[in-house]
């Protein structure tokens, strides 16, 4: 079976004026559809950068990236935006909900951007699964961190993305809420065969995944 993610000698160099900062120094990674992958490693080793490239938020500098059959090296900005719209769901450490919109509107705007309009069945299923029914009319400031993150997950999966990319989703949560969020990711992976790539610093969180990938200095050191 074709892997859903395949990178080969993937490099990313940031330029800060005259200084070149190599963030990824040749990443080789294969992910199969339906896998729940945890990415761990010390701060600054390039985990977020890898995630941004896989989600089409940033260009790689060199190497090969195939995500669901799309070769990023040949894609322009608009192509990557379209790819992201239809195939990727992001979850961030800082929740990143739109502050002026309610939970319901935050989820609905993802469907609107995708262009398929509001799908009430999918919406109900996701809202029930993430246990956020009671909070749908609340704005982010009126929700706890755990609730906000569940809304963010709902927003990420509402359009049935091929891959859910989560960058330290429990980084801003207490143990109890972390556990709830991790259980939900687990459930999403189990019941919908949702492919998940999750960055974490937390060994307990990594333990929830099927597979743990360790990074150091811009490379994958153990798989």
């Amino acid at each position: 079976m074709e892997p859903i993610i395949a990178t080969q000698d993937l490099k990313k160099v940031f330029r800060l004026g005259k200084v070149q900062v190599p963030a990824l120094r040749g990443v080789d990674l294969i992910v199969q559809e339906g896998e729940f992958l945890a990415v761990v490693g010390p701060s600054g080793c390039g985990k977020s950068t890898l995630l941004h490239i896989l989600g089409g938020l940033t260009n790689p500098t060199s190497g090969h990236v195939l995500v669901d059959g799309n070769d990023f090296i040949t894609m322009n900005d608009a192509d990557r935006t379209r790819f992201r719209r239809h195939k990727i769901g992001f979850v961030f450490q800082r929740f990143n909900l739109l502050p002026t919109l309610t939970a319901r509107q935050n989820i609905a705007i993802a469907q609107h951007i995708q262009g398929n309009g509001f799908n009430p069945h999918r919406f109900d299923a996701v809202a029930d699964m993430l246990g956020i029914r009671e909070k749908l009319n609340h704005k982010p400031f009126a929700m706890s961190g755990g609730e906000q993150q569940r809304v963010a997950i709902a927003r990420a999966v509402i359009c049935e993305p091929k891959i859910l990319l989560a960058d330290e989703p429990t980084g801003n949560l207490d143990t109890e809420n972390s556990q709830i969020v991790l259980n939900m990711l687990r459930a999403l992976n189990r019941s919908f065969r949702q492919t998940i790539l999750m960055i974490t610093h937390n060994p307990e969180a990594a333990a929830v995944a099927d597979r743990v990938v360790r990074m150091r200095d811009g490379r994958v050191v153990s798989d």
Partner: protein, 366 residues
Amino acid sequence: MVNRMVLQNIMHRPVRTAVSILAVAIEVGMVMLVVGLTTGLLNESAKRVEGVGADVLVQPPGASFFFGLTQAPMPIKIADRLAEIPRVGGVAPALFQFNSTGGLNLIYGIDMESFNRVTGGFVYHSGGPFEQPYDILVDDWYAKANHVKVGQNLSFLNHSFRVAGIVEHGKGARLFIPLKTAQEMSGALDKASIFFVKCTDPGYTDQVITSIHQLLPRYQILSVKEYMSLMSSNNLPAMRAFLTVMILVAVVIGFLVIFLSMYTTITERTREIGILKSLGASKTYIIEAILREAGLLAVIGVLAGIAGTWFARKVILASFPTLSIDLTIEWAGRAALLAMVGSLIGAFYPALRAAQLDPVDALSYE
């Protein structure tokens, strides 16, 4: 969905929203009022000239339609020669005096007898005709606006005048003094600025004009009908330039405020734009959202501006009854269009910048 986001955004920053709306409203109001005032002034003074009741106006070569701007007087003897032309029923000379202290006032120096023959005579609300050289007649609007009573002294052109009578408005000027006095005051002895010519029947107007042309080839001779049609800002280059400048200033104010408002908005909402991008929002999506927001502000501003202008007109006319402000639907539409286009152009650069933000940078923006 975008509309809901736009609505939430403009409600989220009420002061910014209010200032943007106010700027657009002022833009619209300024355009409508400036145009309304100038056309009002022109129409009203044209109507007053029509109200004199003459059929033909004779002015010196190169005179302006806009009386009072003309200073080159003609010999008064011409009146006698005009009176000899067949079908001419009356000729009234007038010498314009322009008073600029305490508001701008056009004063007609008139010869009562000939002026009455052309106009059919003043209707006196109180008092009566001139009795002495330094007597003045004021019209009822002027009297009301300035609380003038018969017998009172008014100071014009460094002279004190006694108010001899208050007359019904609509006969050329709002203020009249004896022709001789006007001539002496301006050192234009035996001169006149205009001749109001009345035909024995309005049907003879063209015929009389032809005869006057033969008599005075270089003079400016207009039927009152023509004069009325010429009294628009399009035919008055100075006024036209003034209008253009005022409209431009108004549009630039609206443009700049919307520009600044949307520019600060996108800076403040950099992270939100990053979020939209992470969800896969295209450049067009983001540009559209920002233009919609600016468009909504502009629409509200335009409506507030139009309503405010009607209200401002009432207030202005209550305090300055001699002014007239002609507001037209046409100019309301033009002002609205200018404001809308100006706002959208003002919002376009911020929108473009927002669309071009790097999503990762935007997401990490504090």
